[in-house]
Amino acid sequence: EPEVTQTPSHQVTQMGQEVILRCVPISNHLYFYWYRQILGQKVEFLVSFYNNEISEKSEIFDDQFSVERPDGSNFTLKIRSTKLEDSAMYFCASSVSEGRFSNSPLHFGNGTRLTVT
């Protein structure tokens, strides 16, 4: 079964450094997402992406964050200057469609654990 793949599985970085988290969505999916889960807290929506542009973003997704689909397969999340509070598990997801009352659930990758020291 096709799956969403994320690399690396664990990233350790120093505060203030830039990090890029990489994702390869399922090949026929058109909608891409980033979510994150801080340890012990809820999974939180960050951003959705369709047709090479952001379709929605949360208040968490400030100017320090950016997303890009640099080629036909990769979908990346960049954090420009990491803060301690950015430490979390970051999940990439993709879906065939928006899923309005249809069965188009999000398919998640296994996540990248980001540790900012």
């Binding site: 807290q41 929506f45 949360s58 928006e98 899923g99 309005r100 296994n110």
Partner: protein, 115 residues
């Protein structure tokens, strides 16, 4: 932000019995609800969903019930199997342009099915 609440952090059930996981929500704009299952070191996996026009959706051993007046939904697993042991997340969204864009998640319930 407690729009989606899963008040039981953990649940333990004997194999073969029914597992009932509960979820409450506060936002009356939510009209699409999903359950995801998560194993350690893996991402969430979609399990079952229900839209607000229904009050029940069934898929094999999994049934989701929605009580809109109570703003409550539940996931029933019957019979429970040891492989069902995982964290179960309830999530909800308010459809505007689409359901998937912004899911609001509960904290999860860790289910242990004992052989």
């Amino acid at each position: 932000d407690q729009q989606v609440k899963q008040n039981s952090p953990s649940l333990s059930v004997q194999e073969g019995r029914i597992s009932i996981l509960n979820c409450d929500y506060t936002n009356s704009m939510f009209d699409y609800f999903l359950w995801y299952k998560k194993y350690p070191a893996e991402g969430p996996t979609f399990l079952i969903s229900i839209s607000s026009i229904k009050d029940k959706n069934e898929d094999g051993r999994f049934t989701v019930f929605l009580n809109k007046s109570a703003k409550h939904l539940s996931l029933h697993i019957v019979p429970s199997q040891p492989g069902d042991s995982a964290v179960y997340f309830c999530a909800a969204s308010a459809s505007r342009a689409g359901n998937n864009r912004k899911l609001i998640w509960g904290l999860g319930t860790s289910l242990a099915v004992n052989p």
